[in-house]
Symmetry: C2
């Protein structure tokens, strides 16, 4: 691991740490709906479905690789985790009727200002198959170049940095990378890194 | 892939398919709470936290290996997915004040009746780090033997089968295995399979 990289990362993490959570009344994004489910074998089972916003919470995750084989990595508040800050890849919810690949390009550009010359879906998975239909798509984006400014939503705070693949594996071992989406993307993208 | 295995799997999937979902009033498991989050850098951001039951939804996933190097695999209704049935590993929520390893032994026994001679945690991850503190633990269990009857909760329906590791990789490629927890467990356990 390049020493200056780890120092820079620690600086961003320090800035983004949550120091206080205050309960508020507003709840509008997470919802649920109960169902009786009739199975082929005659059983009826009861399940509750997690709903996020107006869609099912399906998302895209992008591993963006630059011309110099560095991987664009984002650092964000993850306020409900023990660390309160997460290290991962650009990602976000797919909008209504949006193609996953276009969602991936949009999220990459909004969160980092980078644009690739090629982007491919390499895997997909259910985020939480017991209670949700959220289906997440993993993309790998090649030859990414910084072309725009970050364009963040209100309440979004994203720092980004470049690491190589081995450094990301080390960050996972060191406990900086702990999210399911990031870990799965890191594992699945290994065979798609071109050198 | 052993042909008779794939046939048996298809039979279970057929039985467990959901043919109808009927909305009901009851909602009691999934909830949420809004927060204003005060960060170290002075920002205040708003986030909503997913709550499952009385805990945070942290779970265990177990890859159980028998003396004959077969891997115990479960087939369950996943009513909100496109397939409506999922193939994966024994798993379940950690109860209040329960040690993850004991939760893993309990879920393995309840869902399959199998008991291991050794069980080790090999990885852990946040299920959905943007909106939840659910932290899931992956276990690998060795020398598993069938010692008890299945002991399922009301509304639980679990079939189980034995596959080898290569067959599970094939089931993933064929699209039978699509859940984040199962895919991550399969990827992370690869180096821990003893032969």
């Amino acid at each position: 691991m390049r020493k200056e990289k780890l120092e820079e990362l620690k600086g961003y993490i320090e800035q983004l740490k949550t120091i206080k959570l205050k309960e508020i009344e507003q709840k509008q994004f997470i919802n649920s709906q109960g169902y009786d489910c009739y199975l082929n074998n005659g059983s009826i089972i009861r399940r509750e479905r997690l709903i996020k916003g107006t869609n099912d919470g399906s998302a895209v995750i992008i591993m963006p690789i630059t011309k110099d084989d560095e991987i664009l990595t984002v650092i964000e508040p993850r306020v409900f985790t023990k660390e309160t800050v997460g290290v991962g890849f650009p990602a976000g919810y797919i909008e209504q009727d949006e193609e996953p690949k276009l969602a991936a390009l949009r999220e990459l550009r909004e969160e980092t200002g980078y644009v690739p010359s090629e982007i491919n879906e390499i895997d997909a998975f259910y985020q939480d198959e017991g209670c949700s239909s959220a289906y997440n798509h993993i993309f790998i984006a090649y030859n990414c170049q910084k072309k725009y400014l970050q364009q963040l939503d209100k309440d979004e705070l994203v720092k980004y940095m470049l690491f190589n693949y081995e450094e990301l594996e080390e960050l996972e071992r060191l406990g900086y990378i702990k999210g399911a989406n990031t870990k799965l993307t890191l594992a699945k993208a290994k065979n798609y890194i071109r050198r």
